[in-house]
Symmetry: C2
Subunit: 226 residues, 2 copies
């Protein structure tokens, strides 16, 4: 870790956001989780703080974005765009890490990418040049994230059009003992987004709880941390 | 292997098709490789036969499709549709295994899925109900396929709307010592197709030759063979 960052996790009361917040807090970063409901965020933050043995703050999404240097988005696809619009002016100059998967209930095991291919790439178009959007964490099982006693057996595909922002996210993953890989431009987020429906299908078909992916063919340590 | 199948590999003079033909022939199946140029197919087949120590036939694509019970398509995206149209009436009642990746040169490292999401799903719409289309092999490195002295360190994502056809393809993969997984309906082929551009990006970025994927979180043997 280069230095502790102030990191906001919007939708941080959910399973995936909570897991990321916990692991980042344990790595020494300063965390604030956001929710549409500030009181709910505060309550969830108190519980997470107890688990982490460190203070994790909680507030309404917009305040969480304002307080953070790096913002991670972990909300359902249905409210992805509205959440970003709600906090947008607080994101200028910052890195927005979007983990959104465009699942279309009830058929979440079927790939249904939006027009244009990637739900995250659409957020970069919405947010404009002042926000550096990075795609990550689509394939990481929320259940495994929350089990702090073991490492997550899943690579993180990191896509983005700004190389330094991708490097930063890859470093944050390393802080959480997760291997992350440069997976190309933001358009390539479509691969990670689509893969989640495949993993959901595999979970059901093979009766497992948290299938993930590993990239093979890389030297043992050369890929870690980019 | 349940029994030897007669398998045609269209575009079988290319690296990926040749690798699949070799491995399937070594597993005991009867192979015929197809090409637009029958003489070229015959010449390539003679070379493959020498490598395999078994007879692999070669002929023009249409004759190869006619001779086969199972047809594997390994042609560039630019000629995918035309190739299927050319052989279509020879596919009725058969399984068509399509490995096409919708790469758009020169930016092959950038995901560029066609409208509708999946290039393979589009072929099922073209071919109609009489042909059972299965998507497979998009993520398997042609180089590794051709290196017969080692197993391919990559899972095969198998997508299709016909369960028995998918089971058949998974069994063929097992014959080649490759683990294949039911990855959902044909729409989910978009994930495998998109992932190939990610793997190309990773090959370049990390200076490796044949990155692949493994699904994690599965019991050791439970997933093999479906």
């Amino acid at each position: 870790m280069e230095r502790p960052y102030r990191i906001g996790v919007l939708g941080g009361t959910g399973a995936q956001g909570s897991g990321l917040a916990l692991r980042l807090a344990l790595a020494g970063h300063e965390l604030v989780i956001g929710s549409r409901d500030g009181a709910r965020a505060a309550s969830a933050a108190a519980q997470l703080s107890a688990r982490a043995g460190r203070t994790i703050a909680g507030s309404e999404n917009r305040a969480a974005a304002a307080a953070a240097e790096i913002v991670i988005l972990t909300v359902p696809y249905a409210v992805q765009r509205a959440t970003v619009e709600h906090v947008l002016d607080q994101l200028h100059g910052k890195v927005l890490v979007d983990s959104t998967v465009p699942l279309v209930p009830p058929k979440v095991g079927t790939v249904a990418l939006p027009e244009g291919g990637s739900a995250v790439a659409a957020i970069q178009r919405l947010a404009g040049e002042k926000v550096r959007v990075v795609s990550a964490f689509q394939n990481v099982s929320a259940q495994h994230l929350g089990e702090l006693d073991h490492e997550v057996d899943c690579d993180v595909l990191v896509c983005g059009d700004n190389r330094a922002a991708c490097d930063l996210v890859i470093a944050l993953c390393a802080d959480m003992s997760m291997r992350a890989l440069h997976a190309g431009s933001l358009a390539n987020s479509a691969a990670a987004e689509a893969l989640t429906s495949v993993l959901i299908t595999i979970n059901r078909r093979y009766k497992v709880a948290g299938a993930g992916i590993r990239i093979t063919g890389l030297p043992g340590s050369g890929a870690r941390g980019g």
